[in-house]
Symmetry: C2
Subunit: 137 residues, 2 copies
């Protein structure tokens, strides 16, 4: 496996999710289908939010059948930020009215900021150093 190509979370209210991830987290919408999904590009991969009520059953397409999936309850994602950008993101989150649920200072170095998206998913911002990974562009 070269990398993760698609990372998914689920949300019933896709409009709220789109508003949150674009306004607060500065992601750009790649595609949307009202009631089913909103997709964002993020670095070299895709961040996908699905409405599990719409994706739990297989979907036919011209190119084949897309299998069903759809989890419920709070999932988790961590977005990579640059080392040194933690303070800026903390300020931005607070200015945007997002409550920071927790901050964790990791043994390998680096701090995680944790907060919730509108669907209750646990979102984290952290530098690559928390995993001992190199900081890449």
């Amino acid at each position: 496996m070269l990398s993760i190509l698609e990372t998914c979370l689920y949300a019933e209210d896709l409009e709220a999710a789109e508003e949150f991830y674009t306004r607060v987290l500065e992601l750009e919408v790649f595609a949307r289908e009202p009631g089913r999904h909103v997709f964002f590009r993020c670095g070299s991969g895709m961040f996908l939010i699905f409405n599990s009520a719409a994706t739990q059953n297989p979907a036919s397409s011209a190119g084949g059948v897309v299998p069903g999936h759809g989890a419920r309850g709070p999932g988790h994602v961590c977005f990579r930020i640059a080392a040194g950008e933690t303070d800026r993101w903390r300020e931005k989150l607070l200015a945007a009215g997002v409550a920071i649920e927790s901050e964790v200072h990791w043994p390998r170095g680096g701090t995680s900021l944790y907060f919730r998206d509108p669907a209750g998913n646990c979102v984290e911002l952290a530098p690559a150093s928390i995993w001992g990974l190199k900081e890449t562009p």
Copy 2:
């Protein structure tokens, strides 16, 4: 956001998950805590499998409180493979006794292979071309 740093799925049977993702998908274990999680490195990010029964409540650590999360039901992840490796992976999956649930040929080019992990999560292997993204190492 520079990229996705952590992509998560959930599984009750972490030993089965570890066996599957190492033997079939050739990932290497980065860390494990029996009953709670098994972590894999994947490219420039981390692929994390949690037992939601263990992670649904916050966890204290020396560096701060890690918030609770934990979804139930089938999630989804797509791993990026090299263009031209689809045939090799199809053969490997079949040789490993993994049923291919579906194949989808995408308008932008590239084929997705879909199958289930032992927990029922929907796993996909695809090249970056399905999203119109450049193939990177």
